[in-house]
């Protein structure tokens, strides 16, 4: 083949690639409806709850709901930087601080799930049926004896914060302990590490059940402790300050919040199950029932909004 022909073919190929790339840019996948970015924690994503809710929300409000997969600490940081539109997290202390700082205008408790302590079926630390703090104490003793390990999220998440509170309540110092492994990752990866290292961990029930259904018999951990009030895990949605973050999609964020607290949203949350087990429990409007302070002022305000939007 002559060089002339060669160069011509080459030029055609290059042009084809450039055109294809440009075309891909226009093809760009659902660009239609506006995009909402939720800064949320790994547990809501890993459990599949958001995937489940997305079609309902998208259709009703004509929005494209997307979410960032982060730990609670990260989520709050991202929101504080103004890179997300709304927050869905589970760490009351830090949520209140966020609002108090002026970065957020409002927070409300929407639902709760519970945590469980999972571990190897033969339960080397003998914690089956104990309450949370007693169980952790036993785990630390077994770990000290070298018969087991504990895997922590170690990522500044809400789960991590709860875990740390429990250790404190149990009077155990985990710093530098050889049996204490810090994963620095989300819930699903942490469970998988506990699975590989045949150890204990604290997980939200939702993620555990999801992993059970995807991993089947390769997941060799069972529920050992549950239903302790200390293991309840309430989730809150926070609206960001629309004046400070004037460029975020504040109206879409409000849509999301209203959707989650509306009767429809709450009922969808209630009906979400994996393998027949319910994962999240709606609690909007009555946080007192799980021992949390009442939120009447916020709830009344939101209820009137729901009414005006025809969502009640």
């Amino acid at each position: 083949m002559s060089s002339q022909k060669h160069n011509q073919i080459f030029a055609v190929v290059v042009i084809a690639i450039v055109v294809a790339t440009a075309a891909l840019a226009y093809y760009g996948w659902p660009m239609g409806p506006q995009r909402l970015i939720i800064a949320t924690t790994t547990s809501t994503v890993d459990s599949g709850l958001l995937d489940y809710l997305k079609p309902y929300f998208d259709n009703k409000f004509n929005v494209n709901m997307t979410w960032l997969y982060l730990g609670t600490g990260q989520a709050l940081q991202v929101a504080a930087s103004g890179d997300a539109d709304v927050l869905l997290v589970h760490d009351r202390v830090r949520e209140d601080a966020f609002v108090a700082s002026g970065n957020g205008t409002l927070r409300v408790t929407v639902m709760y799930n519970d945590f469980i302590i999972i571990g190897p079926p033969n339960d080397p630390a003998g914690i089956a049926g104990e309450n949370a703090t007693d169980a952790l104490l036993k785990i630390s003793q077994a770990g000290h004896d070298g018969t087991t390990v504990f895997v922590s999220r170690g990522d500044g998440s809400g789960t991590n914060a709860l875990e740390n509170r429990l250790w404190k309540a149990a009077g155990v110092n985990t710093t530098g302990a050889l049996w204490y492994e810090s994963a620095g990752q989300g819930m699903a990866p942490t469970i998988r590490i506990a699975n590989e290292h045949i150890g204990y961990t604290i997980s939200d029930r939702a993620t555990f059940l999801t992993l059970q259904s995807t991993m089947n018999t390769t997941l060799n951990l069972v529920v050992l402790c549950e239903n302790d009030s200390a293991l309840l895990n309430p989730y809150g949605i926070l609206l960001l300050n629309p004046i400070k973050y004037f460029y975020i999609k504040s109206d879409l964020a409000t849509d999301f919040l209203l959707f989650m607290v509306s009767p429809q949203g709450q009922s969808l949350i209630n009906n979400y199950t994996i393998n027949g087990k319910q994962l999240f429990f709606p609690v909007y409007g009555h946080p007192e029932t799980i021992g949390l302070p009442s939120e009447n002022a916020t709830v009344n305000y939101l209820n009137s909004l729901l009414k005006s939007r025809g969502l009640e």
Partner: protein, 238 residues
């Protein structure tokens, strides 16, 4: 099930997913191609001319610039991602561009990676051309514009290698695009970041399916390069 059976089962399910023509997987693949191709083309558009310039002209600090470009070739992608993230974040200096968590941010980050690769390999390709070429062109009274055209033709293989190397780096990159793209479903989820997500969630079949696609892309591109290199080698006789 034994370890092997899990992998085999995952592989079989992956093939089923691939042949089912799943929309989501198609979208992920197209996004990956779009981001990496664009980043490579842009990196080449700047990298090749600059590489030419640096290789051909003699100027103060030429060796310094060449050393800098070669060092930049080794930029860790995750560090690039971090820097771009900090700049593009709403609270960062370029926040007003609203580019964070968009494919454009991913392209920017990958461009920072592809540009030095293309530039560096171009410089190397030009410098390794026969030094007598310069004399030959001078003695034939080749005007400036023709000089460039001839050199481009002589270094064609080197330039193509540069572009393919850059594309290979871009398409398999995961850290930078995860940070600046956010892995948002339907928007910024690429092959590499999707594989990470699905592996984390324990959905190995989907992860394997995406992995197969990524391998096919990476291999075919490199196979093409090997073919070109072999063809040029068949040349010389006595």
């Amino acid at each position: 099930m034994s370890g092997f059976e899990i992998i085999v089962e995952g592989f079989i399910k992956a093939l089923q997913i691939l042949f089912s023509g799943d929309q989501e997987i198609l979208g992920i693949t197209l996004l990956s191609l779009r981001v990496s191709l664009t980043a490579t083309l842009l990196g080449a558009a700047f990298g090749i001319p600059l590489g030419f310039l640096v290789a051909r002209k003699d100027f103060h600090g030429k060796s310094v610039i060449t050393a800098v470009i070669n060092t930049l070739m080794g930029l860790p992608p995750v560090v690039v991602g971090l820097v771009v993230y900090l700049f593009l974040s709403a609270s960062g200096p370029l926040g007003f561009l609203r580019l964070l968590y968009t494919p454009e941010a991913m392209i920017i980050a990958q461009m920072i990676l592809t540009f030095p690769i293309v530039c560096g390999i171009t410089i190397s390709a030009i410098l390794s051309l026969n030094p007598k070429l310069k004399d030959t062109l001078a003695s034939l009274s080749a005007p400036r514009s023709w000089e460039a055209r001839v050199l481009l033709n002589e270094s064609k293989l080197g330039l193509i290698t540069a572009i393919i190397a850059a594309f290979g780096a871009a398409i398999s990159e995961v850290g930078a695009i995860m940070m600046v793209g956010g892995n948002l479903l339907g928007y910024t989820r690429a092959l590499t970041t999707a594989i990470m997500l699905y592996t984390n969630m324990g959905e190995f079949a989907t992860a394997i399916a995406l992995g197969i696609i990524l391998l096919l892309i990476a291999f075919s591109v490199n196979l093409f390069l090997t073919y070109l290199q072999m063809r040029s080698r068949v040349r010389r006789t006595t």
